[in-house]
């Protein structure tokens, strides 16, 4: 049900020009408009909040957020050690524990780590590969490419991974991530330069990983998975380059250039690491650490405790396995392109633009009250967006800022952006996708997978999927408009648009 609603701000009441979901958080009169693209919920909203909550969005986007987002982000504000604000990104929507798009920077000295602030799919993330092909060159071979990718890359439930690792190899992969992939011939050395943490985060501790996580994850390394995970062939939109100089640095030379986007995570391995530690944190947080939270999905332990350090070590293993997973898929993509186009990946210009993480907690340096401080930044469904000159940005991007990839729904489009110096208030974080406006259940009732597939084909987008019902859940209309999310992201100063990408072909589980 939808209806018109008046909106409270610092000034007089104003009437919205758009309809608002009945359950929208705009209804809540504790929501204070700080600017056209930033709202705040004060600590007086809920007992136990240590800091205010901040939501980056314009009026229209915030009207699409449900009340559960407000409830979840204000719960986040109760985490011990949280600094400045609990933050929600423009693509925020309700999940469990943290909202999707939730960010919490926590002082590791005395503060906590929470598996719920990272999510079950640890280092779910997205990477973008460039090619030197044009859309016109790829179109005649689109079916061959997409079918080739679909048959080569395991997708969906029960898809076996591209590699099967021994115990010793698995341990080395947990600490080595993409570095291990390069040693085995699945990556070129240059790839390691263009991933967060060089594709291998430090602090991974295989001894902290359970036998169950190994058992569950072993068979899925090098697989796409299902749900919102995808592999997409894209073209740079006409009139879709907004900063030609930065685009060139990122590897985009012209409109109609073909790119490949890969969205997946650590698969069952990461899911089990999260499950194991969520379970153990929920039983020890009260008894051993005297901590309570309003939602058990926010179970936490002091960062510098045995439990906190064990989880951090295991989570870092899952981060590295996710990097490896995306790399193995990249290797398969290069191989399929090479076969179809009869040229080597190097000749096809298939270089990695960047690989970004969505679900992580990382120790980073940030300025708080004028002083540099190490913070444990939890991001769940949110992207790090380091600005030009910041430590951790690849040398090649030092003057542009880190590339940020925002994947839209499969029938809308995606964006390549860059981190901005103005992003400091959000701990240099930006949106990660479109954000759902419709539950999966409602999407499945509202859309027909086959009709959607055929409609997209008529628009020139060839989709290959193992699950038409799953496709219906991912229909574009179930998501916010990516252009609006990106506009709010840019206006809020979180990151700036570099290029727009539109889908040509897609494989999904």
């Amino acid at each position: 049900m939808k209806y018109l609603l008046s909106i409270y701000s610092h000034g007089p009441y104003v009437i919205c020009a758009f309809v608002i979901d009945k359950e929208s958080i705009m209804k809540n009169d504790m929501l204070i408009r700080i600017s056209d693209f930033l709202y705040e919920v004060p600590v007086s909203y809920k007992k136990g909040m240590k800091v205010p909550a901040r939501i980056y969005a314009d009026e229209k986007l915030i009207s699409t957020m449900d009340e559960a987002v407000l409830d979840q982000i204000t719960n986040v504000c109760m985490l011990p050690g949280i600094v400045n604000y609990g933050i929600c990104m423009p693509d925020g929507h309700s999940g469990y524990g943290f909202p999707i798009g939730g960010v919490a920077a926590i002082d590791p000295d005395g503060g906590v780590i929470s598996p719920g602030g990272i999510g079950f799919d640890i280092n779910c993330g997205v990477r973008l590969l460039a090619t030197n092909l044009t859309a016109d060159e790829v179109k005649p071979k689109m079916k061959e490419v997409v079918d080739g990718l679909f048959s080569r890359i395991p997708t969906g439930v029960g898809g076996k991974g591209l590699v099967r690792l021994s115990d010793a190899q698995f341990d080395r992969a947990m600490t080595g991530g993409m570095r291990w992939a390069a040693e085995q011939g699945y990556a070129v050395d240059e790839d390691l330069l263009y991933a967060e943490e060089g594709g291998a985060v430090s602090g991974a501790d295989p001894a902290a990983v359970s036998a169950r996580a190994r058992e569950r994850g072993r068979g899925q390394i090098g697989s796409l998975g299902s749900g919102n995970h995808f592999l997409e062939l894209q073209r740079v939109s006409r009139d879709g380059i907004y900063d030609r100089e930065t685009a060139r640095v990122f590897g985009i030379e012209r409109e109609d250039q073909v790119m490949v986007m890969i969205h997946t995570g650590s698969r069952g391995f990461g899911h089990q690491v999260a499950s194991d530690y969520l379970r153990s944190f929920s039983s020890v947080m009260g008894k051993e650490y005297g901590l309570t939270m309003p939602d058990r999905e926010l179970a936490c332990a002091p960062f510098y405790s045995r439990h906190g350090q064990d989880y951090f070590g295991a989570m870092n293993c899952a981060i590295n396995i996710a990097f490896l997973n995306r790399q193995l898929i990249t290797h398969a993509v290069r191989s399929v392109f090479s076969r179809v186009f009869g040229r080597s990946p190097g000749e096809l210009g298939m270089r990695l633009v960047y690989d970004v993480c969505h679900n992580t907690a990382k120790l980073e340096q940030h300025v708080v009250n004028g002083r540099e401080k190490t913070l444990l930044v939890h991001r769940k469904g949110a992207t790090r967006a380091f600005a030009a000159g910041m430590k951790g940005v690849p040398e090649k991007y030092m003057n542009t800022g880190q590339p940020v990839i925002i994947g839209g729904s499969m029938d809308s489009g995606s964006y390549l952006l860059a981190g901005e110096v103005s992003g400091g208030d959000a701990f240099y974080t930006t949106a990660h996708g479109s954000g759902r406006v419709m539950s999966r259940t409602r999407a499945k009732k509202s859309f027909n997978g086959r009709e959607l597939q055929e409609r997209m084909l008529r628009r020139g987008i060839y989709v290959k999927t193992g699950s038409l019902a799953g496709l219906a859940e991912e229909a574009g209309a179930a998501y916010k408009k990516v252009d609006e999310v990106v506009r709010a992201t840019e206006k809020a100063g979180l990151s700036r648009r570099i290029a727009r990408l539109e889908p040509m072909g897609n494989i999904k589980g």
Binding site: G95, Y96, Q220, S282, R440
Partner: protein, 143 residues
């Protein structure tokens, strides 16, 4: 013993509610809901391999959480799709224990059409309650 999808808890993920006149029925329905949510035709799962599940927990809701997680684990670790055959729950001074048998088969991608994959059962809003003579549980799944 069917499940009901609940829309107003989460947009990103999936929530369901089950009921039972006994705890045995409730837990059975919960396990059955997992295959009902994941598969287009859960009735096509053949009952070849049997697995016994025994657990002890102090709290009922955590027992349900752990029990359901077993089905998710087998699906990924062994590509084994399980549906419940029998569930028996008892209560003693240490808490609640479950003795269950489930059976199923390896995922056959030609025959088993998935609508969604379940990454995990979550503890978000997890509750096992008794109302009007019925047990009910609400469970949020990460999908």
């Amino acid at each position: 013993m069917e499940f009901e999808l609940v829309e107003d808890i989460t947009r990103a993920d999936l929530a369901f509610r089950v009921r039972g006149s006994t705890l045995d029925e409730l837990f059975f329905a919960g396990a059955q809901a997992l295959s009902g949510i994941m598969l287009e035709q859960p009735g096509l799962v053949r009952r070849g391999r049997r697995v016994s599940i025994s657990m002890l927990e102090r709290d009922l809701d955590m027992l349900l959480y752990d029990f359901l997680q077993e089905f998710v684990f087998y699906k990924d670790a062994e590509s084994l799709l399980l549906v419940p055959d029998s569930v028996r729950i008892s209560h003693n001074t240490e808490g609640y224990s479950i003795n269950a048998v489930a059976s199923g088969e390896q995922i056959d991608r030609g025959r088993h059409r998935f609508t969604v994959d379940i990454k995990s059962v979550t503890m978000h809003n997890l509750a096992v309650v008794r109302n009007d003579g019925y047990w009910s549980a609400t469970v949020v799944l990460d999908v």
